[in-house]
């Protein structure tokens, strides 16, 4: 069997690089856990639910950051999801063929703009605009906890808006791929039965619902980890607040701001533990969303592979 050993060599040779990739991912988790050990040992599980961040006395809790991250990402999702699905439907089903490529290109462009440019635009254009919206809010609405606090412009609302814009192209391109994989028979059957465009598309969306949920969650995962654009507009104040006007803090932002200078080891460990928390949360969200997309591919046809990664790589 002369051809065995070169082939084995090839398998091992390429396999080494694949192992390297896996090791890098494990390495991230291990490294984060190792450096954050002092904080894990001191605070334990209470770290996740304590609302305090006091570098002076060395008391740290991640709750304000977990709150800020989840609140801003969920708000962004609420704003972005209908728009993302609308775009996906329009490009894949409704738009004239000649517009398809340009529109796809434009949505890709939206995804490709660096987050620092979003942040720059956020500081100089979005925040003043939000500030004027906040100042012109009628007094009666200001009493609600959702709108309480001084109108800074910087705060949860600006962060949610910027995240929504950044998440839209991501969710929409994956949704588009998911919709493409719905068998034509589904739609044609609906039309044959006399459905309007809306009803036929609704049927397709229902059929693809697991995949669409997966696409939306992928966007959620993206929003969770966004750093630069958020830290430039959110006000960087660790507090748990329902108000859209209040300046708050996210996990990614606090790491970016405080890491270079956490002078004592406990502060550093606490920051890295926040990184670990972020890593775990995004891991769960992303894995779950991929599971959903993959299971949808399986119901369509066992062999079909939805090229989500090309869409993401292009996005």
């Amino acid at each position: 069997m002369k051809s065995r050993s070169p082939d084995l060599g090839f398998r091992l040779g390429t396999g080494v690089f694949a192992v390297l990739l896996v090791l890098i991912v494990c390495g991230i988790g291990v490294e984060l856990a190792r450096v954050s050990m002092p904080s894990i040992q001191k605070f334990g599980l209470a770290f996740w639910r304590t609302d305090v961040w006091d570098p002076v006395v060395g008391d740290f809790g991640a709750l304000p950051f977990i709150w800020g991250t989840l609140y801003s990402s969920i708000l962004a999702l609420l704003i972005a999801t209908p728009i993302a699905i609308g775009i996906a439907v329009f490009i894949s089903e409704l738009c004239p063929a000649v517009l398809r490529q340009p529109l796809m290109f434009l949505t890709e462009l939206l995804a490709a703009i660096p987050s620092i440019v979003y942040g720059l635009w956020g500081i100089f254009v979005l925040v003043p605009a939000v500030r004027s919206i906040e100042t012109s809010m009628p007094e009666v609405l200001r009493q609600l906890p959702l709108f309480s606090g001084p109108p800074l412009g910087l705060g949860m609302l600006s962060a949610a808006l910027i995240l929504a814009v950044m998440v839209i192209p991501f969710s929409s391109s994956v949704s588009r791929e998911v919709l493409k994989s719905v068998p034509a028979a589904q739609r044609e059957g609906a039309y044959a039965l006399g459905a309007t465009r809306f009803e036929a598309i609704r049927a397709a969306l229902f059929y693809a619902r697991t995949g669409i949920v997966g696409a939306v969650m992928l966007g959620f995962g993206r929003a969770l980890g966004e750093t630069m654009a958020v830290t430039m507009v959110i006000g960087n104040t660790p507090q748990v607040s329902l108000s859209l006007f209040a300046p708050q803090y996210t996990m990614a932002a606090v790491i970016a701001n405080e890491f270079a200078e956490a002078a004592d080891d406990l502060h550093l460990a606490a920051l890295v533990e926040i990184g670990l928390v972020l890593f775990i949360i995004t891991l769960i969200v992303n894995s779950f969303s991929r599971l959903l997309i993959w299971s949808m591919a399986r119901t369509v046809s066992p062999a079909a592979e939805i090229p989500t990664e090309t869409a993401e790589a292009a996005a």
């Binding site: 961040w53 570098p55 104040t237 701001n257 405080e258 200078e261 002078a263 004592d264």
Partner: protein, 342 residues
């Protein structure tokens, strides 16, 4: 095949650039306070003009970063306006010395729509504003100090530093001396737990936020208020006078410093007694290891320090800082000799 050759050529270029560039210059990296950022970057730029082979790259990341990075030895020198604590000094892998470089002032900046008059502050009012106890601009405590000024009923937006900062240290050091409640609630450190307000990054970030947010108040080094034309007010000193920050009033604050200087140069001159003194003044320090690993860089740094303490001081007044008193400079030159450069 062509691509392979191009890749190899590109790699060779990179390697050549890397090696060639490193051969001649002495590259020194430092990080730390934003408070002296304008004058340090001016100094390093001027020094590079005189000694073109010495490139000192300074990154203003905040005093907390300066302390941390010098302790980790990821930079060659640190810079801070909040002196290192005994605990931090013990945690370092070698002896670190503080060297004062220049004197500066922290001023209260504010942005109140339709108010162009200069507002007077005293320590108690400032402490209560930053504690969140005074919430509106037309509060009687502020009005009492500023009779005749039409103060609006807008909310006060407090702007503080979001990261570890020597400017913060100077500010809270002063406020803690005036208000026991402030000392208990907030305390004195480079990074504190603020009862209220938003965070800006660096003196730059606080200036930018105050400039853009109506109704806000913040604290920055004098030069940032001057360069950005942001209103700042006089503060009442220990002698009861309302003094505005300037080269003269800051120099007055350090008048007794030389006589009372401790050997490690860690001293606070906030709320100094005397006439014409600006109460929120401070030294700012460069942190150097007494026995550094890289002796070539150490020698270059010591030579730079000698230049900064002598010729460099003349740049201070134009940028709103005050030069060091002669007595302090003499003490430092002696201390610099202790740094092992071979």
């Amino acid at each position: 095949m062509r691509t392979k050759r191009m890749v190899v050529a590109a790699l060779a270029c990179f390697a050549a650039l890397g090696v060639g560039a490193a051969a001649q210059a002495i590259r020194i990296n430092g990080a730390g306070a934003t408070f002296p950022g304008p004058i340090y970057t001016k100094w390093f730029s001027e020094y590079n003009k005189l000694h073109s082979n010495v490139q000192i790259n300074y990154q203003p990341l905040g005093s907390g970063a300066g302390i941390r990075q010098i302790m980790e030895q990821t930079v060659d020198f640190g810079a801070t306006d909040g002196p290192m604590t005994d605990e931090q000094l013990r945690g370092a892998s070698g002896r670190i010395q503080h060297f004062p470089t220049v004197l500066g002032a922290v001023v209260p900046i504010y942005n109140i729509p339709n108010v162009t008059a200069e507002l007077k502050f005293d320590g108690t009012v400032l402490a209560n504003i930053f504690l969140g106890k005074i919430a509106k601009w037309n509060d009687p405590a502020i009005a009492k100090l500023n009779a005749g000024v039409n103060l609006p009923g807008t909310d006060i937006v407090v702007v503080h530093r979001s990261e570890g900062s020597g400017t913060t240290y100077i500010w809270v050091d002063y406020l803690s001396k005036i208000s026991p409640e402030f000392k208990k609630t907030v305390g004195v450190a480079t990074a504190v737990k603020w009862p209220t307000g938003v965070g800006g990054k660096g003196n730059e970030g606080v200036s930018a936020t105050v400039k853009q947010t109506p109704g806000s108040i913040g604290y920055v080094e004098l030069i940032f208020a001057l360069q950005n034309k942001i209103s700042y007010g006089p503060v009442q000193n220990a002698a009861g006078e309302f003094v505005k920050a300037s080269t003269q009033s800051v120099t007055a604050a350090a008048a007794e410093a030389a006589a009372k200087m401790p050997p490690d140069f860690r001293v606070s001159i906030t709320n100094a007694p005397g006439k014409g003194v600006y109460p929120i003044s401070s030294f700012t320090w460069i942190l150097l290891y007494e026995n550094p690993k890289d002796k070539t860089k150490a020698k270059a740094l010591v030579d730079f320090m000698k230049w900064a303490l002598a010729d460099g001081q003349k740049f201070a007044p134009d940028l709103g800082y005050a030069p060091l008193p002669d007595g302090v400079v003499k003490l430092e030159m002696t201390a610099l000799a202790k740094i092992k450069t071979q």
